[in-house]
Amino acid sequence: MASADKPINTDVPEKDVFALHFLQSLSNLRRQNTFNSPEKTNDRVKKIKKAAYVSMARAAGGTSRLWSRALLRRAAKETNKVVRFSRRKKRVTWLRRRSNRRDPVEEEEKEAERLRNLVPGGGAMETSKLIEETAYYIKCLSMQVKVMQCLVDGLSPK
């Protein structure tokens, strides 16, 4: 981690891994009778969405990534209300000094702030770590979307 020459690895697992984890989550939901019971549609959708994120986090390597760890932790203590990501420690930015004029670095930091709110666990990450985690997060997210799209296509009436 300290070496400046070490290449950042952003390879994600194959699509099968994501599909497998999502299927497992779905069959768990099936066992809990989520799909047959006369439940409110909203609850069902929320459960599926949660299953999607949790299975994605597991497929991505569980706790080995900061964002997946944050996702799993959030899912574990989530009730029915929305949980906001809060900053737990003072983050380190790549600004060595705070400048009062609007220079490009400040613009970057503003965008980085927005990114922090979107990536799970981003609030506690240093900016360079944030970018690395974001790359991985984006790849996994698009994998998950592909898996779900395949499912929808397969289940839709011809």
Binding site: M1, A2, A4, I8, T10, K15, A19, L23, L26, R30, F35, N36, T41, R44, V45, I48, K49, A52, Y53, K89, V92, W94, P104, E107, E108, K110, E111, A112, R114, L115, L118, V119, A124, M125, E126, T127, S128, K129, I131, E132, T134, A135, Y137, I138, K139, L141, S142, Q144, V145, K146, V147, M148, Q149, C150, L151, V152, D153, G154, L155, S156
Partner: protein, 94 residues
């Protein structure tokens, strides 16, 4: 809990991340985002990359939401046996 703390220390206490590394990471990010990959130019500023990244992530979240909606309808309306077969078939065909 201490492992969490030490991993945080490892990030901020180690030698300063060089600007080159950050630029490299930003470039990697740029290649991942379809919007920016099409442009193929190296002159996209870091803040633009971050901005497009935010938009892209928001889009992906929205797609997950939409797909969850549709999955919820589909899974509720199909009966057990055909649903399982359809699921396995569709995932094996990608």
């Amino acid at each position: 809990m201490s492992s969490r703390r030490s991993s945080r220390l490892r990030q901020s206490g180690s030698s300063r991340i060089s600007d080159d590394q950050i630029a490299d990471l930003v470039t990697k990010l740029q290649h991942l985002i379809p919007e920016l990959r099409r442009r193929r130019s190296d002159k996209v500023s870091a803040s633009k990359v971050l901005q497009e990244t935010c938009n892209y992530i928001r889009n992906l979240h929205r797609e997950v939401n939409d797909l969850s909606d549709r999955l919820s309808e589909l899974l509720a309306s199909t009966d057990d046996n055909s649903a399982e077969a359809a699921i396995i078939r569709s995932l094996l065909n990608y």
